[in-house]
């Protein structure tokens, strides 16, 4: 017959075994989750470092470490976030989340100032549908094609669509050489349905309401409107259109990156104009090209019709006044001409 003491030993043993089992399971669960979260944060930090290196050194890179991410978001630029946390970028980044990304640097040349940015794109196809023929419309297509990278892996291709027909996509360099000569393609409105990561760009002066893709409608002087469903955005350079495209089909929509781009650009432009105006005054005090530096300073930052004031006004108006965009383009050109004069005089 089993004694009380033996029963006690059995029960005690069961309690101790259960306790150890519980501790080990809990610990393993917490530790595994901790390690996986840490791993995701490390990957995002590596991505930040890769973006920074590309921004500083202009060396493109591929990034494949997002393959095991359940979710990657860019709804609060410049922070990228996953289920484990978020990491802030320290270079201007235009990102479309994907498993395998191509990272590259481009420069928006305003003549007297350069705005550099980094693109991080997965495999995609850009499909153009130019409905009207003119030098300006062809220039829009060439400018847009130029801001995509030459990339085979991940594959980024550009092509055309007319009616229900989609023409074979080719890599950027080949596409740019193919569209070097403007010509009337007699295309009709593209009605084809495209899979994910295909972006349709319709270029036309007509009032269309396309069911897919964006409509780019130039209004002259390098500016115009981009229409997407019930939204319209003013564009003044190809980067505006890229920012809108990258937000399509995302949870955060096209206006997130559009506002991010314009906030970055115009705040940098405002600060650059102030600093360059101060520098022009310093050069004047040192009797270098006195008149030209004086005129440049007025264009950059003086009264309401100077670049720094206009940039502030554009930001305050929420990027909704096309007149301001056109005026600042004209002033940028004037500032560029003044810099060329200074170079010719040996002062810059």
């Amino acid at each position: 017959m089993i004694s009380v003491f033996q029963v006690f030993k059995i029960i005690m043993g069961l309690f101790i075994a259960g306790f150890f089992f519980y501790i080990i399971l809990n610990f393993t669960g917490i530790y595994t989750w901790f390690q996986e979260s840490q791993q995701e944060i490390l990957i995002m930090q590596n991505f930040r470092d890769t973006v920074r290196n590309t921004y500083v050194h202009d060396i493109p890179a591929e990034f494949r470490h997002f393959e095991n991410f359940e979710e990657l978001r860019y709804d609060d630029p410049p922070r990228i976030s996953s289920l484990s946390g978020d990491v802030s970028m320290d270079a201007p980044l235009f990102l479309k989340p994907g498993k395998n990304l191509y990272i590259y640097r481009k420069t928006l040349d305003l003549g007297w100032w350069r705005f550099q940015w980094v693109g991080a794109l997965p495999a995609m196809k850009i499909v153009f549908n130019p409905l009207d023929y003119s030098q300006e419309y062809w220039g829009i297509m060439q400018g847009l094609a130029g801001i995509f990278p030459q990339s085979q892996d991940p594959q980024i291709t550009l092509g055309f669509c007319t009616g229900n027909r989609e023409l074979e996509g080719v890599e950027r360099d080949y596409f740019i050489s193919a569209i070097r000569q403007p010509r009337d393609l007699n295309f009709s409105l593209c009605t084809r349905d495209f899979p994910e990561n295909y972006f349709l760009i319709i270029i036309s002066s007509q009032d269309l309401k396309p069911s897919n893709g964006v409509l780019v409608k130039p209004t002259g002087n390098g500016t115009g409107y981009v229409y997407y469903k019930n939204n319209s955005f003013i564009y003044s350079d190809p980067l505006d259109i890229l920012a809108i495209l990258l937000g399509l089909d995302s949870l955060w929509g096209p206006d997130t990156l559009y506002k991010y781009k314009n906030t970055l650009l115009f705040s940098e432009l405002q600060m650059a104009a102030k600093k360059e105006a101060e520098r022009s005054e310093l050069m004047r005090l040192n009797r270098r090209c006195v008149d030209t530096y004086g005129e440049l300073g007025n264009i950059l930052c003086s009264d309401e019709n100077s670049i720094c004031r206009l940039a502030e006004s554009i930001m305050d108006s929420g990027y909704s006044d096309p007149g301001d965009f056109q005026r600042i383009k004209i002033l940028n050109k004037e500032a560029e001409d003044k810099y060329k004069e200074l170079e010719a005089e040996g002062c810059e």
Partner: protein, 167 residues
């Protein structure tokens, strides 16, 4: 009358106590291992904070040497742009104040001349965010740089000392 053998009773109680004490020790050992592992992780995290601060200062140096606000071209600082740079500009561009000191390489007998509007270009030292520099707990690096002297058109060698505050 029933006789109770106290020797057997004491032996049984002693046996039970053995098991209880053994179980207690095993629980203490397991808890100690768990605390040790988590403590190790936190200690590693503390060390990583310092490593990250050094890494951040290096990356800020490369961003500073590349920025249009301070350079004539990549890795060549422009002395006229340094003259008009203020601490609030650094904060606006990089998101925080940085202790920056830039000095042209000096020959024997030269003295350090801090740059002001009145003595430019006859000066060789630029200092930005000096209020941060006077605080303690800074870390960073100093690296060689090129400095383009706008007025004379000459490029000089210099040293860029960039420090960040560590909480």
């Amino acid at each position: 009358m029933r006789v109770i053998d106290f020797r057997k009773v004491r032996k049984g109680q002693f046996g039970m106590m053995e098991y209880i004490i053994l179980a207690l020790f095993m629980v203490v050992i397991v808890m100690a291992i768990v605390f040790f592992l988590f403590g190790w992780e936190f200690g590693t995290a503390q060390r990583e904070v310092l490593d990250q601060a050094y890494g951040k200062s290096l990356s800020l140096i490369s961003l500073f040497s590349h920025s249009e606000f301070f350079t004539e071209k990549d890795n060549m600082l422009d002395d006229s742009k340094l003259m008009v740079s203020k601490c609030e500009d650094i904060e606006a561009i990089f998101g925080e104040k940085l202790c920056i000191n830039i000095t042209s390489v000096l020959f024997v007998g030269d003295e350090v001349k801090p740059c002001t509007i009145s003595n430019y270009p006859d000066c060789n030292h630029w200092a930005i965010c000096q209020d941060l520099c006077s605080q303690g707990n800074l870390l960073g690096y100093d690296v060689p740089v090129n400095i383009y002297r706008r007025i004379s058109g000459v490029t000089e060698l210099g040293v860029l000392d960039l420090r960040i505050g560590v909480s």
